[in-house]
């Protein structure tokens, strides 16, 4: 090594010459650019920035320069080393990204493989439709009322103006609890829930009562001894058949779509007066001449019986403690099983009850 020499011409130290430094830098940059892997880059890093690399060696020579020359040389070397280090990290980043990309490609899987090992549950459509109907009425400010399925005879019949000798009692094929003198029945309709609502609430009352009901029908494709109804009861000042119609129109539109058409047809129920059947214009044939005769959905009638309804008979109000001079009300009741079978074109009611999981599964957790 040369001793410090104040007269020394810095340009005479070959390693620190402008061209030499540039050459070393360019050689390093070229090697970096040529490195095809992180391993190769590591070798390049050692060769061009290691202790024995030209730039490192040149850096050591700076001390040999006279003080006035050190600044320039230091700057030159520093810039070259900076450029090399920058290129090294940039190249490393590029190579890392490439390498990760390559690894991810290697990890490719068949995403069409099945993912079906977890059991998938489902809810029965009868449950969901009851909730759906309840929600509709809840949204209108009604409440949901419930009651027992084994019910007192008085609440199932007498309180609803079906006295012990009422001919209409023969219309209903009632399951009686043994012994008959116990005066208990399996409720034949959800109407006793209406009676209970009037007996336990004070008007105004707006309740909807979904639930299971019983009739002594042998099970076949179109009859079951157990089925589901939803009934509604409204008791308020000034209610009329018009409010009943409005409510049912709203209900029908929610279940069958906004294009549905309803009609009232005179009928008879002991607990309502006037009474009506509410029919839906057949949503398949629309009762159009030519189409209606062969329509299987309405069986050629053009209309589909949807449910019974009417103005609450004042006799029922009296038995349930509501003053008919002050209040009036309306009630309606529909079967829900048929709503499901007609909407989903299910030919056999027994499918709802057998418990074959393939019946429920397609419904998932909604309708």
């Amino acid at each position: 090594m040369s001793a410090p020499n104040s007269d020394y011409d810095p340009k005479q130290v070959a390693a620190l010459g402008e061209d030499e430094v540039a050459q070393a830098r360019d050689a390093a940059l070229a090697a970096i650019e040529a490195a095809e892997s992180l391993d190769a880059l590591k070798a390049v890093r050692i060769a061009h920035t290691g202790d024995r690399s030209p730039l490192a060696l040149a850096n050591r020579e700076i001390g040999a320069l006279p003080p006035q020359a050190r600044k320039d040389a230091g700057k030159r070397i520093g810039q070259a080393r900076g450029a090399v280090n920058q290129a090294l990290s940039a190249r490393a980043a590029t190579l890392e990204a490439l390498e990760e990309e390559r690894r991810l490609v290697e990890e490719t899987v068949d995403v069409t493989l099945p993912t079906d090992r977890e059991p998938v549950g489902a809810r029965h459509p009868i449950t969901t439709i009851q909730e759906h109907v309840a929600d509709l009425f809840l949204a209108m400010g009604w409440e949901v009322a419930e009651g027992p399925e084994v019910e007192a005879e008085w609440l199932n019949f007498d309180a609803l103006n079906l006295g012990p000798n009422h001919p209409a009692r023969t219309m209903q094929d009632t399951f009686w609890v043994s012994p008959e003198r116990a005066a208990l029945v399996l409720r034949t309709h959800t109407s006793p829930v209406q009676a209970r609502s009037m007996l336990t609430r004070t008007p105004p009352i707006y309740v909807v009562c979904p639930g299971r009901v019983y009739r002594t029908d042998e099970a076949d494709a179109t009859h079951m001894p157990v089925f589901h109804q939803v009934e509604g009861l409204a008791i308020d000042r000034g209610l009329s058949m018009a409010h009943l119609k409005g409510t049912l129109d709203h209900f029908a539109a929610a279940v069958y779509g906004p294009a549905v058409t309803t009609r009232f047809r005179p009928s008879y129920f002991p607990f309502t007066e006037p009474s009506a059947e509410v029919d839906l214009l057949c949503y398949v044939c629309h009762n159009e001449p030519g189409a209606v005769a062969d329509c299987g959905t309405c069986r050629g009638e053009g209309w589909i019986e949807w449910g019974g309804c009417g103005v609450v008979n004042p006799r029922v109000l009296v038995a349930c403690g509501v003053d008919p001079e002050e209040y009036s009300g309306f009630a309606f009741g529909m079967g829900l099983d048929r709503t499901i079978t007609s909407r989903y074109d299910i030919a056999d009611l027994r499918d709802l009850w057998d418990g074959d999981i393939r019946f429920t599964e397609p419904f998932g957790v909604g309708l």
């Binding site: 059991p119 043994s178 007996l199 119609k245 007066e273």
Partner: protein, 837 residues
Amino acid sequence: MHVPVEWLRSVVELPAEVTTEEIADRLTMYDLKLEEIVGGGITGPLTVGRVLAVQPEEQKNGKTINWCRVDVGADRNEPSVPDAPGDDVPSRGIVCGAHNFGVGDLVVVSLPGTYLPELGFEIGSRKTYGHVSDGMICSTRELGLPDDETSAAGILVLAPGSAEPGDDAVAVLGLGDQTLDLEVNPDRAYALSLRGVGRDAALAFDVPFTDPAERPVPSADTPAYPVRVEDPEGCPVFTALVVSGVDPTAPTPGWMVRRITDAGMRSISLTVDVSNYVMLELGQPNHCYDRDRLQGDVVVRRARAGERLTTLDDVDRALTPEDLVIADDSGPIGLAGVMGGASTEISETSTSVVVEAAYWDPVTIFRAVKRHRLPSEAAKRYERGVDPELPLVGAARVAELLVELGGGTLEPGATVVGTAPRRAAVRVPVDLPARISGVPIAPEEAQRSFERNGCTVERDGDVFVVTPPSWRFDLNDPYDFVEEALRTAGYDQVPSVLPTPTGGRGLTRHQELRRRVGHVLAGAGLVEVTTLPFAGPADLDRLGIDADDVRRRQVLLANPLSTEEPGLTTTLLVGLLRAASLNVGRGHESVQVSEVGRVFLAREGAPEAPIYGTDRRPTPEELAALDAALPHQPFHAGWVLVGERERSGWDGAGRPVAWSDAVAVARRLADVLHVELTVEQAATAPFHQGRCAALVLDGTVVGHAGELHPTVLKEHGLPARSVAGEIDLDALLAASPAIGPRPAFSTYPVAKEDLAFVVDTSVTAESLRAALASAHPAVESVRLFDVYTGSPVPDGQKSLAFAVRLRAPDRTLKDTEIAEARAALVAAGEALGGTLR
């Protein structure tokens, strides 16, 4: 109610252009819903023919067909059919497969071009069995006629001389007549007659009506037959007439036979037919006694204990003093209003007839029908209410027809005992129809509708005083008249107005939670089913349920559908296991089903449910008495898991269901309801004795879950190791707090300690976990992560390994505190006999 349209038109001035369909539509919207239109629909050349020759030909298939020559009248015969049997005279050749006819018989032929609705296609000329069959000889069924003993064999053979070849068979048989089958609601008794339907049709079309009941009646100055009524409440009106000299062989005219059969009754003999005809026409049931078989006076009275009566259906019936009977000196001769007796029945030799028509108390008849399980056409009308002004008119109409058609003579006098009850007037506010119907019905309109229906109306200020007609049993209350006015205005006039309640409170807590349970069960991979809630002792036997188990306390039915299932179920597992079996039987290897529904448990010594009046609200005590009579009927949730909980797949083997899956469902329910449910070892049917968990809430067992007993699985055809659970959902919901636990967590560092204890097999994991959880205040959570038995753990012992997390809510734990907590954990384990591994 079947109403021949031709008969209906005879009393209602319906314009000819009004079709049967229009009549049906209008009646449906007025109050009588059409069930169906019967008859009509035959078009084309349906013709009467005479069989001229029959040639039986045996076929290769062993069947013998008849190759016939039939004369179908000069206008329709072919000039020559050389191929057909017999002389080649003008005729048609027809192949027929039936054999119940012969040469000379009159038959009905559907010639090519005839459309028979029963067949649903048009008959053509076709080649068959080597001949051209130029039409078809018709059977009763093909013509849509009811079968009877003679016609059931096949071809309809007409009575000799009743028609000529070439006659239009539609006219001869009345096949063009249509009948309306109408649904009559039980409050509309009057509509069980031509008179009632006719009046409604006239009102519905607003055309004139000829009331068939408006006819002269004989004077009742002298009785026609001696009658005593001892029970005027049961029999307010009794009338009788006598017709003598009736020719017992006189035939019933064809028009009457047709009307009776179209109305759904059978023609029997002139006297019986006339009796039925008048019931159909006027709605007045009546009875004809053979006068020569009556002994002494007729008495209407309650039956005496021990008396018996053989009714017309040949059933010998024991009578009770509740039965109202018609009797003579021989004893009861008829069950009043329901059915006559055999001893005085009209026979083929009866010539002298006592005609009875009465008004019976509807409730008395209703009870008699129920008691004797004997519905009849007469009782159907009497129990709903027959016009009490009608009996004498009805008897007179029967007598008139017997005189006219049977050559009889009406004996002088008429027996009339009692008078029709007077109808009370009803006060109807004049604005009530509009107010309740929502249709702006003016008072004048309402009044007109009342009057058109036969009411008399007076006005007292703002109130109508309306007296209904004798035949309207359904008009008693003011609201009944609202319906009357609305029927006239039209039900289609009701506007649609949505009421605006003042705001509800949403679902109740239980309703909301039950929905949550449903979602959680589905989320746990269970498919919800609904099963029929009926069960019997055999079902409970199959579950291995003991005789003294609470689930043996079934609510039994007086009239179950099946003797196998005499009551309601006490456990959802009956239905769920049935459903699981069905699925397995249909080829599903894995079945995971759940149900939420009520079960029914009889209450021992429950009182009978009281029956109250309906003129006032029952008191709170009275209402409580009703509820006290009801059985316990809580909502339960149940689940059954069969096969694999997780299926095998490309990324792993399947995991068979285990007892723990059944318990996990219960725990999951408890978690989402924020209920502290503990699990205890139990041994209850239908579970495996060693793999049954009791689900305990506040010290009370509210359900069970675990592996099903092998015998139960065998009984149900289910694979080994299937599991199930059932829980009292009402109990669970009741325990669910309105506000769940407050979220609380510490943000200081956690210290983790894994501790494994060797304990006796009898020490439950839960007891050790609980002991560790409460061992030290710094214990944040304790989770069992391993159970190990086998070497080096001694026999009769097991190793339970727990991951314990220690953390303080307000500071970082010091090493000394952690050591202290660890010592406390070890001590807790040791307190249960455990040794730290």
